[in-house]
Each structure stands twice: as structure tokens, then as C-alpha cells.
């Protein structure tokens, strides 16, 4: 194996390092004259550079045989959409196939009627509709509404206006009639309250007042954190209230001196 670092081991006036530098020029066809002769002479005699030239030449030929690949048709529109965020009208026209013209009726049919009809055709919808109709007819029968009454309803503007005024007058009359009754009720409630002025409040309020320690000294407030129910239990006393803690009640008896 020849030493590639050694200059001109083939005695052709060119070393392996120089051969490397000239290789691309030789393959590109820019090397000529005496330089090309020396290069070729070195390639013929050097056991490393000769195969290198062959392999490089073969590789270049293989690569030159590769043709350009065609990018996907959607690539440009994807790039524009991802950069400017705008898919231009022209690009859409380019990528989309031409659509046949349809009339407005066909458009309505395709957009609204077909989907609706598809829902109506479902057995679930038919069952729900039947149940709703049955429930409505039963309700109307119970309420005393007859189909004949419904048919007699006039939908002329004058008739609708008359119905509106009649309904309004009925509401006003009802309020006028009810007002004296409400006034009497209010008066009776006032009299009742005056007759029983010292009504005890609800017991809940009393209990709340009992627990309210906001006006008490701090010591008592602390004690009340351990209070349960009606009984006062001091936290520092495991046995509960003892006699010494009970308040001393002085009983004064008054004798009647006869």
C-alpha cells in the first residue's frame, strides 16, 4: 500500500495529495495539457489513486443519471398556506377540478331537503313524532279543547286585535276584584300583630344569642370553643365541672317576724 502522504512516489511529477486536488478538475474536464498527462500517468501507476479515479468517475456517472423528481402538486399551496396563511383563489382553482354548474333549486335540495328527509326517514324520528302527537291529542281532550273550537278560531287581524283587548280587559278586571281582598288580609294581619306585641322569637335566635361571645371577655370566648350543646365543658378539666367551679349562690331567706 503506497503512502498517500508521500509526494510523488510514482515519479510522474505528481503526488497523491495533488492527485486528490486535481481529481475534481479532471472529472469536470477542466484539466488539460501536461497537467492532464501527469494526472493520468499517476492514476495508471498508483495502486490507490487509480481505483479512486475509477470509483469517483463511476459515482459521478451514477449521480448524473438521477433525474429531478417532481414535487407533489399540493406543495406550493401548502407552502403558501403555512407562510402567508392565505390559500389564494388562483391556487384553489388550480388544484380543484372544475365543478359543474347547478341550479338554486338543486342547491337547496342538496343542502337542506336531503339531510332533513334523511332524518325524517329514520324509525326513531317516526316513533317520537307519533308519541308527541298522541300526548298532544290526549292533553287537548282532557282540557276540553275540541277540534271544532280550533277550526272556529279566526286569524283575521281585526279578530286577533279584539281577542287581545278582551284578554287585557279580563286581566284588569281580575286585578281590580282581587285588590279589596288583599287589602282586608293586610289589615287583619296588622290587627293580629298589635294584639300580641311580645311574641317570643324563634328558639334558634336564643341559642345563637347564647353562643354569641362577642361581648364577653377573651377568656370566656376561648372556653366556649369546647362547648357542646347546653353543657359547658372546660378543655382544661378532664373530669368536667366540679363543685369548686360552680358559681356560689348565696341564698338569703327572709324570716317573717311575726
Amino acid at each position: 500500500m503506497p503512502d498517500r502522504t508521500k509526494n510523488d512516489h510514482t515519479n510522474n511529477g505528481i503526488g497523491c495529495n495533488e492527485f486528490d486536488l486535481l481529481l475534481s478538475d479532471a472529472l469536470d474536464g477542466v484539466l488539460s495539457g501536461a497537467g492532464l498527462d501527469r494526472f493520468q500517468a499517476h492514476a495508471r501507476t498508483c495502486k490507490t489513486c487509480g481505483p479512486l479515479l475509477e470509483e469517483a468517475e463511476a459515482g459521478r456517472t451514477w449521480l448524473k443519471g438521477l433525474t429531478e423528481v417532481e414535487p407533489p402538486a399540493s406543495l406550493v399551496s401548502n407552502i403558501l398556506a403555512s407562510t402567508t396563511g392565505v390559500d389564494t383563489q388562483r391556487l384553489r382553482m388550480m388544484t380543484r377540478a372544475p365543478q359543474p354548474r347547478i341550479s338554486w333549486w338543486e342547491h337547496v335540495q342538496a343542502s337542506y331537503m336531503e339531510p332533513m328527509w334523511a332524518i325524517v326517514r329514520q324509525p326513531r324520528f317516526a316513533m317520537s313524532f307519533g308519541m308527541a302527537f298522541f300526548a298532544l291529542s290526549v292533553s287537548l281532550t282532557v282540557a276540553g279543547v275540541k277540534p271544532r273550537d280550533v277550526l272556529q278560531i279566526s286569524l283575521r287581524p281585526s279578530a286577533i286585535r279584539r281577542t287581545y283587548y278582551n284578554t287585557q280587559a279580563r286581566v284588569v278586571r281580575y286585578v281590580d276584584n282581587v285588590r279589596p281582598v288583599l287589602e282586608v288580609q293586610a289589615a287583619l294581619r296588622g290587627i293580629k300583630r298589635n294584639m300580641n306585641p311580645a311574641e317570643p322569637g324563634p328558639s334558634k335566635q336564643q341559642k345563637e344569642r347564647k353562643n354569641d361571645t362577642t361581648q364577653q371577655p377573651e377568656q370566656k370566648q376561648d372556653r366556649n370553643y369546647s362547648q357542646t350543646g347546653e353543657k359547658l365543658i372546660l378543655a382544661g378539666d378532664p373530669l368536667g365541672p366540679s363543685n369548686r367551679d360552680l358559681p356560689v349562690v348565696s341564698v338569703t331567706t327572709y324570716r317573717r317576724f311575726v
Binding site: D20, L21, L23, S24, L27, L52, E54, E55, A56, E57, A58, G59, R60, W62, L63, K64, G65, L66, T67, E68, V69, E70, P71, P72, L75, V76, N78, I79, L80, S82, T83, T84, V86, T88
Partner: protein, 199 residues
């Protein structure tokens, strides 16, 4: 070759918010970028994603393009290359490691347009052979190291000159030449070995 003044005008219009100018840039360069991405990444899906990413980055950084520093195509190629390097790092684990003898890709986009359109003049077996050959070379390209791969793609598939490649890859021109030589030789060696096995 791009007309520098026309491209500079397009870029200025684009920066000013002209959507039509941006669309023109996309129309002009999408094919080139897609091909670089496809040859580097290996699959059509990855190439599409990467191409979109390149254009998104271009769109965001278009104002940073300086015409005095180099051609627009070199700037675009630099962005593409940087994204490809990032992609390579991210997908290092699940990179293509399948055998070169595996079946050809069934992606429609993986085929050149000339091969998608039936050629009445060429016999069917010739077309099939060409397709297989193209697929084999494409797979062999994927076996090269990313440094060698990007160099040969830019030189032999995109026909960029050494100076432009050196700018895009940010390496000296001598390194570019060396990588191209090694890449070509490696590819030739791989394909010769493959065909020797087949024969």
C-alpha cells in the same frame, strides 16, 4: 442562472408585503429545494415537510438576505442545508438503515416525472430497469455520510459551482472538492459492490 436584479426586486416586494412576489419565489424555488430535501432525506414525506420548513424560515428571515454577500440561490441553499443538518441530528436514531436490496419505494412522488408518464417508445422492461436503477442510486446516496452526501447533491444534482457550495456549507473550497471526490468514490464503490453481487 438567476437574474440578480430580478430576484432582488422580488425580495424587496416580498418584504414590502406583496403576496404575489412571495408566490413567485415559492413557484421558482420549490422544485429545487424539494429535490435537495428529497435526495438528502430519502423520502417524499420528509422532503415535503422539510421544504415547507425551509420556506417558512425563508419567509421569516427574508429581510436578512443581503444581495451583496451572495446569490439568492446560495442563501436559499444555505438555509436548506442548515435545516437538513438539524433534521439529520433529530432523526439520527431512526435513520434509514435498510438494505440496498430492499424493494423500491412505492411513493408516486419518488419517481421522476419522466418515469411517471408512460413512455411508449421505450420497452416496459427498460423502464422498469431504469426505475430500479434510479432507486438503487437514491438508496446508495442515503448510505453516504451527511457531509459527503450534501456535497455531491449540490455539485452533481444541483450543478452548483465549488464557490457556491463552499459558501453554503461554510467550508473552504478545497474541503468541498475533497468531499465531492470522496462522496463520488464511496457511491461508486457501493454501487459497484451491489451490482457485482447481483451479477
Amino acid at each position: 442562472m438567476e437574474d440578480v436584479q430580478v430576484v432582488a426586486m422580488l425580495v424587496r416586494r416580498c418584504i414590502a408585503g406583496d403576496a404575489a412576489a412571495w408566490e413567485e419565489i415559492v413557484q421558482t424555488y420549490n422544485r429545487r429545494i424539494y429535490n435537495i430535501c428529497y435526495r438528502f432525506a430519502g423520502t417524499s414525506d420528509d422532503a415535503q415537510d422539510l421544504t415547507q420548513e425551509v420556506f417558512i424560515k425563508m419567509y421569516r428571515t427574508l429581510s436578512s438576505y443581503d444581495a451583496s454577500k451572495g446569490a439568492f440561490v446560495t442563501w436559499v441553499t444555505t438555509i436548506t442545508r442548515n435545516l437538513l443538518v438539524d433534521h439529520f441530528r433529530k432523526t439520527k436514531q431512526d435513520r434509514m438503515t435498510d438494505s440496498m436490496d430492499s424493494t423500491a419505494s412505492d411513493h408516486e412522488d419518488a419517481q421522476p416525472l419522466s418515469e411517471q408518464i408512460p413512455d411508449q417508445s421505450a420497452p416496459a422492461d427498460t423502464r422498469v430497469r431504469q426505475r430500479e436503477l434510479s432507486e438503487t442510486v437514491h438508496q446508495a446516496l442515503g448510505k453516504l455520510s451527511p457531509e459527503l452526501r450534501e456535497a455531491v447533491i449540490l455539485r452533481d444534482l444541483q450543478d452548483m459551482d465549488y464557490k457556491e457550495i463552499a459558501t453554503a456549507l461554510r467550508v473552504p473550497e478545497g474541503t468541498v472538492k475533497s468531499r465531492i471526490n470522496r462522496g463520488r468514490a464511496e457511491l461508486g464503490r457501493l454501487l459497484q459492490r451491489t451490482y457485482r453481487q447481483v451479477m
